[in-house]
Symmetry: C2
Subunit: 432 residues, 2 copies
């Protein structure tokens, strides 16, 4: 039997309470499987008196989480406070500086301060477990850092935010617009009261930055993730995508190219037949392309108390089993600083939708702009016609320079006959 | 830097050669990521003089693999000989008995002798790495034993044999029969010259026995896996399945129920919308249902030199990092002996196809049998009609007792108007 793992638990929200309960309810299973006991020795949360249905008698209570990280006799601090600054950051810094391991579900913190925290961890030979920070119950960090350890990853992409995936799925299935579905999602508890980071792509961007760092051995670099959310996606675009054989998904994509590492989060069109296109609802999925192992896809629940707590426990189990790995796969001094590629120069295929006045000569104007920018079309759809009313004109392009298509869009916008801001969605050509 | 891992490599076939090459080609990457060097110190294979394009100058050659396992100064023996008995078994026994870890891709060996080998490993505090034995490049053992460690798995199922999945996919896509596609697969190298274990379900059964042991903490018990292959699947059934909204897949399924653990490998019909239904070609996939994490699906290449070698290296990396886990998740003395459930009593839904003479009264005979056995139908399909020629009659049932449907099938067989052996395929109702 290994020595018990003594945990200081910081945060007793949904996930923190689930971790507390799991550790108590499954102690026999843990002893059997880890060869060690997990004991919660200290707890800190905002309000001690809140009704929680947890028995906190046997644990030391700290009003001050940072004090707990420093003085408790825990050997690991589980940080479930959230946020990239403030208490969460100080708790982690303090824990690592005083010889404790940390386990956290905090992607924002690691995407922003991961390099400095990993440095602290390396210096003290401690580890940072963050399985719960990316894709909840899917063991994606473990798969990448250990299972695919011999692979040079060429590309990774994924659905990294369950809330936005749920919204896009509901818009498609029910033919509803973004605002209506968002309200439903909030009522169902699939979206926070303040859903900003979920729907604007920032949450997915945080997770992508961590996966990119791990896969490419680079310093995590959230600031160079190009981020676009889903609030501009209309139900009309989802229907046209369907007609053209695509699904619209909010994808985080990281590619390693000759010009550097390119990271983006944005709504993309992908062929319906791609497994990722059929990952619906609150599910997350990540696809890696390894040079030896080929494509690997992992799918599961990306959030929620059970899946997230399960990932926290997996990290604690690694500690019980004596496994401490470099945060981003290699020692901090071997991490490359990163070499972000400018995305605007990338070539790609695009979906473009214009709302035009159905008047003679409109098509000629559009065609002239396309010719001028050297953008060649693959397909054009124009369905409903109501004289005098705006009609959608939908085009998909062949491979074109991204700068060219942006110039074309600017020129479309300036036409009198184009009534709304043109919509443009990249068509991604991805393997499994 | 950790101590170097010294490897004795047993077998230099496709996978063995790939492992040899990877260890040489990626030594810098391994040093960076594992904090240790991997060195091949000894090699054994059937024929020393065979042209291999590998430089064997710096390694000790052994004609006798068992001698190598005993006397070489390796600390881990990589067994890539194959087969459940003979050299492979003796090599592993010898290595473990002389204080060496083993890493193997040999599912047959572990499905049959896994318990005894795990006992040897426990006694000597050594470990058995077998990531390469199940689903090749997909880190499924790691996901289950570590990533989902806190979960009680309720059910697992998967496409565990790439050859049979390739054959079923080609039959569907090209409308060809089993024999024709098998020959194509052999020419393409996707099926062995002797494909028996791949197409009769035994290979998938070996892998299922290992996953079951790990998921349910039971002694691996291949002998209680109910196994049926794909050679009876006709192109006609694949077409009818499609029409009814299903795909036919060779699935390994393990369930834990009140009566015990049920393990089966057989062709099943699953709804087209299920992610597993769209895992095509040589790909494998495994779905777990964890009590905390919910459903998790992993997909990737289940065979081939690159993916398999990648999994072998992942196991070596665990050793370099000091991670040694109980073979089946818990120490051998805590493994339950297993309590195999009799499958015949299970309730399920079924697809039944009869080839009947298109004569008045046939349907009445069929209906009478169904009524007698209390089998209630969900749908009946009868398409082509050619007077005097046999026509297919296809039925899907509601939930019925498996014994009842088998009795009905026996009675159908005895009818003069039923011309071929009736075909029956279980319709599986599975989550993600």
């Amino acid at each position: 039997m290994n020595n018990p793992i003594k945990v200081a638990l910081c945060g007793l929200g949904t996930v923190g309470s689930a971790v507390f309960r799991l550790i108590n309810d499954k102690s026999e299973l843990f002893k059997r499987r880890f060869g060690a006991e997990i004991k919660i020795v200290a707890v800190s949360a905002r309000d001690k008196c809140k009704e929680r249905d947890l028995c906190l008698n046997d644990v030391a209570w700290f009003d001050d989480a940072i004090e707990m990280a420093e003085v408790s006799d825990a050997n690991v601090v589980v940080e479930l406070v959230g946020g990239s600054e403030g208490v969460a950051l100080e708790v982690c810094q303090t824990a690592l500086s005083t010889g404790k391991d940390i386990v956290t579900a905090n992607k924002a913190l690691l995407a922003v301060h991961g390099f400095d925290l990993a440095k602290l961890a390396d210096e003290g030979s401690r580890s940072i477990g963050y399985e719960a920070a990316v894709a909840g119950g899917i063991p994606v960090i473990k798969a990448l850092r250990e299972g695919l350890v011999c692979n040079e990853v060429q590309r990774l992409y994924g659905i990294l935010n369950g809330t936005s995936n749920f919204i896009l799925t509901e818009m498609r299935n029910k033919g509803l617009d973004f605002e209506t579905v968002l309200k439903d999602a909030q009522m169902l508890g699939y979206a926070e009261a303040d859903p900003e980071f979920d729907i604007n792509g920032v949450d997915a961007g945080h997770k992508l930055a961590l996966l990119t760092a791990l896969a490419f051995e680079t310093k995590p670099d959230f600031s160079s993730v190009s981020v676009e959310g889903i609030s501009n996606i209309s139900e009309l675009d989802i229907r046209f995508a369907d007609e053209l054989g695509y699904r619209i998904k909010l994808l985080g994509i990281a590619r390693r190219g000759p010009e550097g590492t390119q990271q983006s989060v944005r709504p993309c069109m992908i062929p319906k037949e791609l497994p990722m296109a059929n990952v619906d609802g609150v599910f997350n999925a990540i696809a890696f392309q390894g040079d030896d192992t080929g494509p690997v896809l992992l799918e599961g629940r990306g959030a929620g108390a059970g899946p997230t707590a399960s990932a926290v426990i997996a990290d604690l189990s690694d500690l019980a089993r004596g496994l401490r790995l470099p945060t981003f796969g290699v020692p901090i001094k071997k991490l490359k600083l990163g070499n972000p590629a400018l995305e605007d120069t990338a070539v790609g295929r695009f979906y473009v939708r214009l709302m035009v006045l159905d008047r003679p000569g409109v098509f000629a104007e559009v065609a002239a702009i396309l010719r001028e920018q050297d953008v060649s079309m693959e397909a054009i759809l124009q369905r409903t016609r109501a004289p005098g009313a705006p009609v959608p004109v939908v085009m998909t392009t062949h491979e074109v320079n991204q700068l060219a298509i942006k110039k074309a869009i600017d020129q479309f916008s300036s036409l009198d006959t184009v009534l709304e801001e043109p919509r443009i969605i990249k068509i991604e050509n991805l393997g499994l």
